[in-house]
Symmetry: C2
Subunit: 345 residues, 2 copies
């Protein structure tokens, strides 16, 4: 079988993880990674023997001067790939998109871009099928991905009427903490609803979801609190069974000592996950509460990692190398070690 050649533009927080994940897939190969930096960050890519490309001529010169062996520019990378994953910052991505379209290469953008850019927003367990063969899609953001995963599970079980969430957003990415964050305060987003609710509706417009969000002074992960109006009275067991239908939700227990974002992060590191990444939504099973026809729960989202498996699946959908969502999800899960049970017996 011919392997799909995947290019990654932007070797930052998401890009480097996408590249590492692509390399783990049997049906893909990494055509190369492209960036503007010449420092330790891109040298890590060289160490991994990833083909390195520079964003343009000027950056290529800088790389050469810094001893980084750039194989070419973005145009060269595009020429060598079947699909490109754009992981560059917001304003830069929109300009790249014109280039991709001109070059007639399939592309995937991140959740920071507008839905209109591709006309399709992707979340594997919800709408893989609608992305088959498309020229482009947008993998929704970390928070939105977690919302769709959990609400899709409830929806499939016929339990979901409407969902209201409060999102505690981590202040900044860990490796960028030195560039500015917040401390000893809380910074609510100025508007309710926050954007994540409408964003989830770009994937599934049947979802009745409203969110409020607040920035908190920590860098590990997001924490969501949800109050869901069910379609009927349900038992706790029914709800848990519904969540367990998703292969990317992992039930955790406070009683196992997983009592906070940092304990969960430490577990991921102990499990040997790269960067301590958690691809799953970690949802507290013992904390989860059903009161008549209302459901309350909380979960943790790793904002650097959760979109990685989604991106891998999106590559398969767009390139049609796998037409069944369940097959792609299964392959991706195995390759990344995604599990529904971290330490649960």
């Amino acid at each position: 079988m011919k392997k799909i050649k995947v290019a990654v533009n932007g070797y930052g927080v998401i890009g480097k993880r996408v590249a590492d994940a692509v390399v783990l897939q049997d049906d893909m190969e990494l055509a190369g990674v492209c960036d503007v930096v010449s420092d330790w960050r891109i040298r890590v890519a060289e160490k991994k023997n990833y083909p390195v490309f520079a964003f343009n001529k000027d950056f290529k010169k800088q790389m050469t001067n810094s001893g980084v062996n750039a194989k070419g520019n973005l145009d060269d990378l595009i020429g060598a790939a079947d699909i490109i994953i754009d992981c560059t910052p917001k304003k830069i991505a929109s300009k790249n998109i014109e280039k991709y379209k001109k070059a007639n290469i399939k592309f995937i953008v991140q959740g920071g871009e507008k839905h209109e850019v591709t006309g399709h927003s992707f979340s594997a367990e919800n709408n893989y099928a609608t992305a088959i063969g498309l020229e482009s899609t947008r993998v929704v953001s970390c928070n939105t991905t977690s919302i769709i995963r959990t609400l899709t599970a409830l929806k499939k079980a016929g339990l979901l009427r409407k969902a209201r969430g409060t999102l505690l957003r981590r202040a900044t990415d860990p490796w960028e903490s030195h560039l500015g964050g917040i401390m000893n305060t809380l910074v609510p987003e100025p508007e309710i609803p926050s954007h994540q609710g409408p964003d989830a509706q770009t994937v599934d417009n049947e979802l009745d979801v409203i969110t409020a969000a607040v920035k908190v002074p920590e860098t590990l992960s997001h924490l969501h609190y949800w109050n869901v109006q069910l379609t009927r009275k349900a038992s706790k067991e029914e709800v848990i069974a519904a969540f367990k239908e998703s292969t990317r939700i992992s039930m955790i227990n406070y009683a196992d000592g997983l009592s906070s974002n940092n304990t969960i992060k430490e577990l991921m590191l102990a499990m040997g996950r790269p960067y301590g990444d958690m691809y799953e939504v970690a949802l507290w099973q013992d904390m989860l509460k059903v009161v008549d026809d209302e459901l309350f729960y909380a979960y943790v989202v790793d904002n650097q990692a959760i979109v990685i498996p989604e991106t891998i699946d999106a590559i398969r959908a767009l390139t049609t190398i796998e037409k069944l969502a369940t097959n792609s999800i299964q392959m991706t899960n195995v390759s990344l070690g995604i599990t529904q049970k971290f330490i649960e017996k």
Copy 2:
């Protein structure tokens, strides 16, 4: 008019604020403050010319050795007062209560004690009248006070059906941060519902309220996010008008630069409030959102200050020096500078 003699047992975070507030009331005088410490904390009380008492003989000796002029023991203070406000830590308070009952002195406990201890839980705007002449009451905690204030306002306007809240609780008191807190993580309470909902029902059992709570790594104040099911469709203006019926809710605006817990704290300091205390619930007016018959809003609660005016009102209710809630609230508000408009025009 004879002034009510108020004793304060425990000169800590709450006790020192209660003492300062008592001194500001025309109808009260401070019989004294009682504590176990001999360091800078109790010397501040001496500097303010507050009569200082020691918890017992041994502590009195320690105070004397440290040069603190203790006027007597707790028993002496009880003998010199009409009512005592217990601001001691949880386990100590329960033992004190036996002493108060034996001495036949009226007493007020803090929200950390169980409702059963007094059989009455107090929140001025909700149930002042039911506390008139009682031997004792319990001023509910900071979070519960804020819940009752806001929900009572909606209830009085006939708008409240049920309320669901997510509480971001500050990790520890600012002055006790050196004794341990949390950093760079979030620590959810193990159980949903958290205790604040049932606690609010000890004041008003008609309230349909469920809360979830999480400890966050900051020390300034609490932040609440609420989703309220209204009894009917309502306009934003109606809801704001309802909140404005409470004299202890202050509407703030993100657009005025009040965009976080620390900006609100700085405003209180700029206003010359002692310790930068905020007695009011600071509720974001511009963020507040009504969607059909659902209401969403967020507010900030100063957990050191919000119970102080409530405690002053509880003193008046128990001692019957003022039988009308509105009169007591008005007196307390004026004495402490409580306002519905911090900087709003």
